[in-house]
């Protein structure tokens, strides 16, 4: 069995674990709420994180365009970019998948097979994750830039009617 087959076979478990670790980055009092309340409207943070991670993982194990990867990253990072996380904390979750995969391998093979046999593949996988993290950095910056743009826009929008009145050009959209 090669690594990619393993990753595809254990998709659900790995995604679940990855999400749980991400929820673990919130205050301990909140973790259970994030893990437990499944309604997507009552618990949008958990829902959107879950969806993002699911897509991200799919994109990793099946070939997808960089743009799609970025979109899925954006689902998760869009939330973290405005929460109480430092930039590093906001994207650090990407690396957690490395541990999740090793954990799953160890658990699955329980000493039957040495994980060393995957070392080359794992190394390649890790490289992809590193690349993903760099993408994550882009996404995070895009989100923060967006936030600052919105902030600028808002200052204008407060008196946008007046500006329109005086014929000053503003770009509303």
């Amino acid at each position: 069995m090669n690594l990619i087959d393993f990753l595809r076979e254990h998709e659900a478990a790995i995604v679940q674990r990855w999400c749980d670790l991400i929820f673990g980055t919130y205050a301990p009092e909140t973790v259970q709420f994030l893990k437990k309340v499944k309604n997507r409207f009552d618990n949008p943070v958990a829902y959107q994180t879950n969806e993002g991670v699911k897509g991200l993982y799919k994109a990793l194990i099946y070939d997808m365009e960089t743009e799609q990867l970025s979109n899925y990253l954006d689902e998760v990072i869009r939330i973290r970019a405005i929460q109480d996380f430092s930039p590093a904390q906001a994207v650090a979750f990407i690396f957690l998948i490395k541990n999740v995969v090793r954990e799953q391998l160890r658990e699955h093979f329980k000493g039957e097979v040495r994980i060393d046999q995957f070392s080359q593949e794992l190394f390649d996988f890790d490289c992809r994750i590193d690349g993903l993290a760099l993408l994550g950095f882009n996404v995070y910056m895009n989100r923060r830039e967006k936030l600052h743009k919105i902030r600028l826009e808002e200052v204008k929008n407060k008196v946008s009617g007046l500006l329109r009145r005086t014929g000053m050009s503003i770009d509303y959209h």
Binding site: K146, I150, E153, K158, G161
Partner: protein, 546 residues
């Protein structure tokens, strides 16, 4: 080798911070997550205590020397004046029903945003100074001494409650966090802690026209401009009179509707409707601001601003007041106005001059909501409406917190919407996110400041998430609302979470749909966007201009 934190450490996974009880954690004032301190000039303007320059990020907030006594005396006084405060301090059983109902908790994950804990921030002080058990047992009784850190915590978390009352719907004892927040903010005000956006708005509303501090002439100029704009789009010039004595109706709207898009288009809608009806109404340069930013600071300041309504109605000798689309203005007008500044016995029980409908439900405070007024007109067939002019608008409707949970205005706007857009263009969001369970925009009660964007986006996320659902599933492209704060804050919020959504007032859509006998052929809506079927002509024309 240099010590570099691992991703696990960064993510707090292997490194869980030593868990502490909530009394032992302090808030961290991060950029984007707190409201700026009010500058002294507003406080001086309004005779508010302890005007001074201070900053939230400073260690020293320069509180008055006897701040503790002031605050505790104020607390005691309010316990004697508000049964709500006294009761809500005593009867919470911490059942946790409210915990996951607050959009700020849902969106931020900060456990102190659970309404129960937000209230405990105040209760712990109440117990320590006003109950025997708290005085004797201290921490064991859930009490703690009043320190500057407690005050900072109050400031941080009481300004993360948008007074939306969603938790109060689910509380088995009806504990109203909004009421506690208002009283807590009053206490903060009493020791000179206020937020800039609210204070500046209050100061401006108090002495000038509207919350951005405009002059009467600018106000008139703006509304005359709407009349011209209406004429340009529809061929109908909408006449307005200002401060006219003897008019039948005084019309009051929030200033967001005449200074900021997209509220301005809503104002054009109001004007078109009144022109269509030939309504005998006037607007005032004095009672020009419907929004009551004072209510975000204290009951008293709310009353001071609200006083203008009846004063002006009396001076002009109108029969009754018509109110525009505004959220907290209607909370104030429904629950406080006649108690504060009534009785309005110089006014008459409102009667629609067009349909003859008596608004018996408003016979005390003598003020009618524009949605009631319009719904009544439509029901009586007094308006010729062409819904196809709103065919480019596929919308969902956001129930604003105040008209929902502090008034009960649900059906009227929906009735109007169903009559002004083509069938099938109105899609409701899921039922646990609308009506009395509606999610707040995350920016109510004074959070409009741009310095507060991150926090607002956390609080607004649950709402945006539901909007995104109907956008993705049904192709909804507009969010309709009857609140000026919504119209101001949803565009940025949705731009971040659900790009491609426009925000629209209900009256704007009425304006689009109204068919005047003498109108020109309409090719655009009030925002100059081409109507369905007129896109090509518009493109050609647009090409010439640009």
């Amino acid at each position: 080798m240099a010590k570099i934190p691992t991703p696990e450490e960064l993510s707090n996974i292997s490194f869980q911070p030593p868990a502490k009880g909530w009394m032992d954690t302090k808030p961290e004032f991060k950029e984007g997550c707190y409201c700026n301190a009010a500058s002294p000039k507003w406080l001086e303007w309004l005779d508010y205590p302890y005007p001074r320059n201070w900053s939230v990020r400073d260690e020293d907030w320069k509180l008055p020397a006897n701040w503790k006594e002031i605050l505790l005396e104020g607390f005691d006084e309010r316990l004697g004046r508000f049964r709500t405060l006294k009761l809500f301090m005593d009867i919470c059983v911490r059942c946790g029903a409210c915990a996951d109902k607050c959009q700020f908790f849902i969106g931020s994950g900060d456990p102190k945003n659970m309404p129960v804990l937000r209230a405990e921030l105040m209760r712990s002080i109440y117990r320590r100074y006003f109950t025997t058990a708290g005085k004797v047992l201290g921490k064991l009784a859930g009490a703690r001494p009043l320190t500057e850190d407690v005050i900072k915590e109050w400031y941080y978390y009481l300004y993360q409650c948008s007074e939306c009352r969603r938790c109060s719907v689910f509380c088995p004892y009806g504990i109203d966090m909004a009421d506690l927040t208002i009283l807590g903010r009053e206490l903060l005000s009493s020791i000179g802690l206020n937020i800039e956006w609210t204070m500046a708005s209050v100061g401006s509303c108090y002495e000038t026209v509207g919350h951005i501090g405009a002059t009467p002439q600018a106000y008139k100029d703006m509304i005359d401009f709407f009349a011209e704009e209406n004429e340009r789009v529809t061929g109908v010039y909408t006449n307005v009179t200002y401060n006219r004595k003897g008019a039948e109706i005084l019309f009051i709207v929030p200033s967001g509707d005449y200074f900021a898009d997209p509220g301005t288009f809503n104002y054009m809608g109001y004007l078109l409707l009144f022109e269509y009806l030939g309504l005998d109404y006037t607007i005032s340069t004095y009672a020009a601001e419907g929004g009551n930013f004072g209510y975000f600071m204290s009951h008293e300041m709310g009353k001071r601003l609200n006083a203008k309504f009846y004063e002006e109605a009396k001076r002009l000798g109108v029969k009754w007041i018509l109110g525009g689309e505004c959220g907290h203005m209607w909370r104030v007008c429904n629950q406080y106005m006649s108690t504060w500044n009534g009785p309005a016995d110089f006014l008459e029980e409102p009667v629609s001059p067009i349909t003859g409908t008596k608004f018996e439900n408003a016979k005390n405070h003598k003020m009618v909501h524009i949605s009631e007024f319009t719904a009544d007109l439509i029901k009586h067939g007094k308006l010729k409406l062409d819904p196809s002019r709103n065919a480019h608008i596929k919308l969902t409707y956001h129930d604003s917190c105040n008209p929902s949970r502090a008034m009960g205005l649900f059906e009227e706007p929906r009735y109007i919407i169903r009559n002004v857009v083509p069938e099938g263009n109105f899609i409701e969001m899921p039922s646990n996110t609308i009506r009395e369970k509606t999610f707040c925009c995350g920016s109510g009660s004074g959070f409009n400041g741009d310095e507060y964007l991150e926090m607002r986006f956390r609080g607004g996320f649950p709402r945006a998430n539901a909007v995104r659902y109907v956008r993705d599933k049904y192709g909804v492209n507009h969010l309709a609302c009857i609140c000026a704060i919504d119209r101001a804050v949803f565009p940025p919020l949705l731009d971040y979470w659900v790009p491609g959504m426009d925000v629209i007032g209900v009256s704007e859509m009425v304006g689009n749909a109204l068919v005047f006998p003498n109108e020109i052929e309409r090719t655009t809506d009030l925002r100059d966007r081409p109507l369905v079927g007129c896109e090509e002509a518009e493109e050609e024309e647009g090409g010439e201009i640009e």
